[in-house]
Amino acid sequence: MADSALNLEELKRLAPPVELQRAPVVEGNKGLGWLTDKLSVFAEGKTPRWWWILFIPAAFAATVIFPTCLFYQVFTGVGVWGNNHPVMWGLDIVNFIWWVGVAHAGTLISALLFLTKQHWRTTIGRMAEAMTVFSVMMAGLYPAIHVGRAWFDWFMFPVPNSNGLWPQFRSPLMWDVFAVNTYLVVSSLFFFMGMIPDFAVLRDRATTRIRKTIFTFLAMGWTGSARQWHNYEKAYVVLCGLCTLLVFTVSSIVGLDFCTAQIAGWHATIFPLYFVIGAVFCGFGMMLVILIPLRKWCGLENIITMSHMDKVAKLALVSGLIIDYIYLMEFFIAWYSGDPYERWVFGHRLFGHTYMVLGWMLIGINVCVTQLLWFKKVRSNLLWLFIIGLLINCGMWSERFVIVVGSLYQDFLPANWGKYMPTIWDIGLYIGTLGAFFMLYLLFVKFLPMIAISEVKGVMPEADPHHPLGGAKKGDHQ
């Protein structure tokens, strides 16, 4: 935009007073062309060293540790893990819920905030969606392989067979099968559809034949015609709506796994909400962990602004406060119900000597550390935010541990009570999934448009035909 300086003058006259202005999504009043170059440069440029430093260990975990732990477990038995009687579910399900949780913030950012027209989401939406897709992959893996006979997983799908047998739909696990698969499919579709116009950008910028071929193929012939945009926008709205439903549904269903069970500590109607909010909270933690370094290393400070970080932090705070309320309610209901089993379980979450460390970690992080986000100083300090993000992930992990293991290890009959300690194979598999997640994420960062180019352009002031920067003249209203 050659005449942007001119328009800028005009803009300043027309603009509302400073205190009423929204923070710009992209700082520095850059033009569309600059934006395109800036946003594509990472996918097209030379691979920086930090990428390799992160990628090699992640790839090692994903390709060596992960399959080793996986095959050893599948060929030997679930017994290689620490699961036992009565704690039949251990790290396998803890990590499953944790990964599902991580996924949720991504969908929330990209879908719910779209519906509520939060323009700032455009710059981080794609990164959040990628986080969703990859973490749902990791999450979906756990239920499939945690079973005793993974090769019979197909029993859980309504496949006609010569036994005349069908799955049993009263089981929340069946609902899980549907929910997790749906989540994976829908979030992948959403992720992919959002990238179609950006594939077109990369196609048009491609300089080598191979890139050209690949991106032509991926862009599927996208031209950016008004008719395409018309249908595309509609589909996008529909998908956003559905994804928003998923945010509330998938974790609810995971919560149903627990609240339909009899076990004290699980059997609570608050669980669906609890899991949704917990998931979102955990996901915002993960967002902070991912955004802060990427923003710095990829030089995206103008695009992912401090205002973005501030908003993510605020959302984390809000969801954290809801979580705190739920903790309070849980303990209150346990006391108020008068049910001795409930009281036992909740008393032992904090005071039972076996797992009280995790119980206090949960309180310390999810309740106390979260309160730091009230302070603007904290929210504007990236190091603090990064650490809080990491801590939130640990806190939510311990919450899942406390819920799953903490309710199982001391249930109704004291004779059954036991203890659970994960083995190296449990932990190895977790490290493997973390590795796989980060490996996929780094590949995404390297090869795909990690910021939704056309979406960001769409929320630039220049994109509004009625805005001076968009070419509108004074008093030019349609």
């Binding site: 935009m1 033009g31 062309g33 395109t36 309504p158 047998l165 069908w166 049993q168 739909f169 009263r170 069946m174 609902w175 549907f178 929910a179 499919v185 829908v186 579709l189 559809m193 116009p197 077109a200 950008v201 196609r203 048009d204 032509t216 193929f217 599927m220 012939g221 996208w222 031209t223 950016g224 015609s225 008004a226 008719r227 395409q228 945009w229 018309h230 249908n231 595309y232 926008e233 509609k234 589909a235 529909v238 998908l239 559905l242 994804c243 549904t249 998938v250 269903i253 056309s454 352009k457 769409g458 220049e462 994109a463 509004d464 035909p465 009625h466 968009g470 070419g471 003249k473 349609q478």
Partner: protein, 179 residues
């Protein structure tokens, strides 16, 4: 040559410019024309009189279909084909049916939306005459292009070109449809 002409394209610099140009093209009575933009331009669908997109209906259809499909499947498998006493619970009931049916409604809707979008946009389409145009690549960057199709009744290579130039379009070019 005329058989091979796909249309005429003109380049504009700002959303407002192409929006105004589009209005004029529409007013001039052209019917087979389109605007190519890096992002959706607010008001363009009104200008083009596109009405409501059918994608929503396709998505709804997909969702409802999946919902009924799964509810029916659950009834068939658990209550009709092999009813087994499980946990003292009924063979078929709303609580056990709703959740999977509902989640599959979302799946159906999402798949419907994507398929609807692709179908209505006639994608994937790997070969397109515009993609051969050097300057068309700028659409995905920061240019706005308006194209009047050769098959339009009012299309005339020279007149239309002038018309487009009169609208402020630069780089008015003929798009050829090559194999």
């Amino acid at each position: 040559m005329s058989e091979k002409v796909y249309g005429l394209m003109a380049e504009f610099d700002s959303p407002a410019a192409i929006l105004h140009a589009a209005e004029k093209v529409r007013d001039a009575g052209y019917r087979r024309w389109d605007a190519f933009t890096p992002f959706p331009i607010h008001g363009m669908d009104k200008v083009m009189k596109l009405g409501n997109s059918l994608v929503g209906w396709v998505a709804l259809g997909g969702g409802v279909f999946m919902f009924l499909q799964i509810a029916g499947l659950i009834w068939f498998t658990n209550a009709f084909d092999y009813p087994i006493i499980v946990g003292g619970k009924p063979m078929f009931s709303v609580p056990m049916t709703f959740v999977p049916s509902y989640i599959m409604l979302i799946m159906g809707g999402a798949v419907g939306a994507l398929i609807g979008m692709l179908g209505l946009n006639q994608l994937p389409r790997l070969h397109h005459p515009l993609l051969d145009q050097k300057r068309f690549a700028l659409v995905s960057r920061d240019k706005f292009i308006l194209l009047i199709g050769a098959q339009d009744e009012k299309f005339c290579a020279t007149e239309t070109k002038t018309f487009l130039e009169s609208l402020g379009g630069t780089h008015v070019e003929i798009v050829e449809d090559k194999d």
